[in-house]
């Protein structure tokens, strides 16, 4: 049981890394909290759902389309909203409210367009049955989602550390002011990061029907809470730190389910608060953020 919870936690945690990854990138680059992240993820789920049921595209082939589509959606959205927000006095706080409004709009539109029933993509699409790892059986969908999540982390790593734009992105993350002083077009860099953030949310959404059982327009807010826990435990503003946050979250959650299941949803919040109080900068962070 322990081994199963550990192994399952690692695999499950990889998926939660993917859920938090885009949110953390957006926070890192723009210092804004995208409270509509979970709802963008929900839209990704519905996109995958319709691509499967109407165009017979399997989630694995739909994923690249969704990634590109959401990226392209992110660019105009950034320019419409974020520069205006960033110019206000307390942008970090106002972003909570702004994206709460965005969340309301997305959820309302989704409820009107998609209806309220639970939906999913048949499990057989990713293959039914268990995958055996070290004598433990895990759902095949978990393993595939985890692999996709790891691929996304790798891709983001390559982008940030091995491309010119990625370097400029990290410069903006390090210091927005100094980046401007160095002649970096911070809005272009941020818009792309925002697009990537949405693309990652969309990608996580593709696998939600398999990882979370079913999807509804209302699923976004629950996902946001998990995503917060993951990125704070990792390190707020450090996208790659999300991996650690995801793993801690996944293993912690499944351990709780094993030994104290009724209290399982207490764990992410507890972790979040403990990490913030003991190491305010997150498990990997260097910067200390105290008042």
């Amino acid at each position: 049981m322990l081994l199963h919870a550990l192994l399952g936690g690692v695999v499950f945690g990889c998926y939660f890394t993917l859920i938090g990854l885009g949110l953390n990138l957006v926070f890192g680059v723009m210092r804004i909290v995208n409270l509509a992240h979970g709802d963008v993820l929900m839209l990704g789920s519905f996109a995958a759902y319709f691509l499967f049921h109407l165009a017979a595209l399997s989630p694995l082939s739909a994923a690249p389309l969704i990634v590109i589509g959401f990226f392209l959606l992110g660019l105009p959205f950034y320019y419409l909203v974020v520069p205006r927000l960033a110019a206000s006095r307390d942008a970090e706080m106002l972003s909570f409210i702004l994206f709460f409004g965005v969340q309301q709009i997305i959820e309302a539109l989704a409820a009107i367009a998609f209806g309220s029933s639970e939906r999913s993509i048949p499990a057989r699409v990713l293959g039914i049955g268990a995958v055996h790892l070290w004598g433990q059986s895990l759902p095949r969908a978990w393993v595939i989602s985890a692999l996709v999540a790891l691929a996304a982390v790798l891709a983001l790593y390559l982008y940030l550390y091995h491309t010119r734009l990625g370097l400029l992105t990290r410069a903006v993350m390090a210091s927005r002011e100094e980046a401007r002083a160095s002649g970096i077009d911070i809005h272009r860099v941020s818009a792309i990061a925002f697009g990537i953030g949405l693309a990652l949310a969309g990608l996580a959404g593709v696998f939600a029907p398999f990882m979370l059982g079913s999807i509804t327009p209302a699923m976004g807010s629950t996902i946001n809470l998990a995503a917060f826990a993951v990125i704070v435990v990792g390190t707020l503003g450090n996208p790659l730190g999300t991996v650690l946050g995801g793993l801690v979250y996944g293993v912690g959650l499944l351990m709780m389910q094993t030994y104290l299941s009724a209290w399982a949803d207490l764990l992410p919040n507890l972790l979040l608060i403990l990490v913030l109080l003991v190491r305010p900068s997150g498990l990997l962070g260097r910067r200390v953020r105290l008042a």
Partner: protein
């Protein structure tokens, strides 16, 4: 007359009177009660956000603690409502004390940690393991003390107290010290202001107000589930109203509640099919085009907003 008293007389008293008289003309008392509730909550939030700069995203945690403080006092101690209400306020303060270490955090970190803390309180109260004490997920029924008129009246008393408190904060020495700390904690300390203690006091005042609001809510509504008392939208509404009215003023949050909550209900009643959509768009528009609140429309023109 001190400015605090003057502001209270000119702004606070008319608001309280208005809501004391409105039930004579308008029967949806619950709507009025919710207005009063948000008038209380926004000023409570104002006490901590407006005067210290901490944005308590999980403010509903204190509200829920108050609601359950009231319920537990009634169910287990058979306390009369007014005593239960005091215990509700106490529950808010105790939770505030427990969460005091969060004040070490800043910005988004504080907001998120506070949200997580509110979730935790909810998850503990709603857990079936504590069903014997809190009734867990099965909800509480306080039919024995149900008294909508009396609870409405008491809510007005709390509102008057809270408006007076914020008027005092705005002009009183302690409130000025809080604003000084918000502007610059270092020079505030150098001016001899005990920064940490000031923050904690503002935090606990704010928790007390939310606890009282939760208590009177529990009394008024009498049958509810943990989901009702810890509904995150209570936090968000209070924040949105405060922000758009204009934090750190007395009238800002009042205007925010009257206008935005008014609009919310108008939309909900007149165009229910697009309720959420319109309200979401309204919020986005306000953040983008009026980020410093209604009060800024006046103060930008050099008019001092009480």
């Amino acid at each position: 007359m001190p400015r605090a008293a003057r502001d209270f007389l000119r702004v606070g008293v008319p608001v309280v009177l208005l809501f004391a008289l409105l039930p004579l003309f308008y029967q949806n008392e619950l709507l009025l009660f919710n207005f009063v509730l948000f008038l209380i909550l926004t000023q409570g939030l104002n006490a901590v956000y407006g005067f210290t700069g901490y944005l308590p995203f999980g403010y509903v945690g204190f509200f829920g603690a108050g609601a359950y403080g009231f319920a537990l006092a009634v169910m287990h101690l058979a306390a009369p409502p007014l005593l239960a209400l005091l215990l509700a306020g106490l529950a808010g303060v105790v939770l505030g004390l427990i969460l005091t270490p969060l004040l070490r955090l800043s910005g988004a970190y504080f907001a998120i940690a506070n949200l997580a803390a509110a979730q935790m309180v909810y998850q503990i109260i709603a857990n079936p393991a504590l069903a014997d004490i809190t009734k867990g997920p099965y909800g509480v029924s306080l039919a024995s003390v149900f008294a909508p008129r009396a609870s409405y009246a008491v809510a007005l008393v709390i509102l008057a107290f809270v408006l007076g408190l914020v008027a005092w904060l705005r002009h009183g020495r302690f409130g000025l010290a809080l604003q000084a700390m918000r502007d610059d904690p270092v020079s505030a300390a150098m001016a001899g202001i005990p920064v940490l203690r000031g923050r904690v006091v503002a935090w606990l005042l704010s928790a007390l107000i939310a606890g009282l609001a939760g208590g009177v809510f529990a009394w008024h509504i009498s049958v509810f589930y943990p989901e009702t008392a810890f509904d995150i939208s209570i936090s968000i509404f209070a924040i949105v109203f405060t922000l758009f009215g204009g934090a750190a003023t007395l009238t800002g949050p009042i205007a925010g509640v009257l206008v935005l909550y008014g609009l919310y209900n108008v939309i909900g009643i007149s165009v229910p099919q697009y309720f959420q959509l319109i309200y979401g768009a309204l919020i986005v528009g306000l953040v983008l085009f009026l980020p410093r609140g209604f009060a800024s429309l006046l103060s930008r023109r050099g008019i001092d907003v009480p």
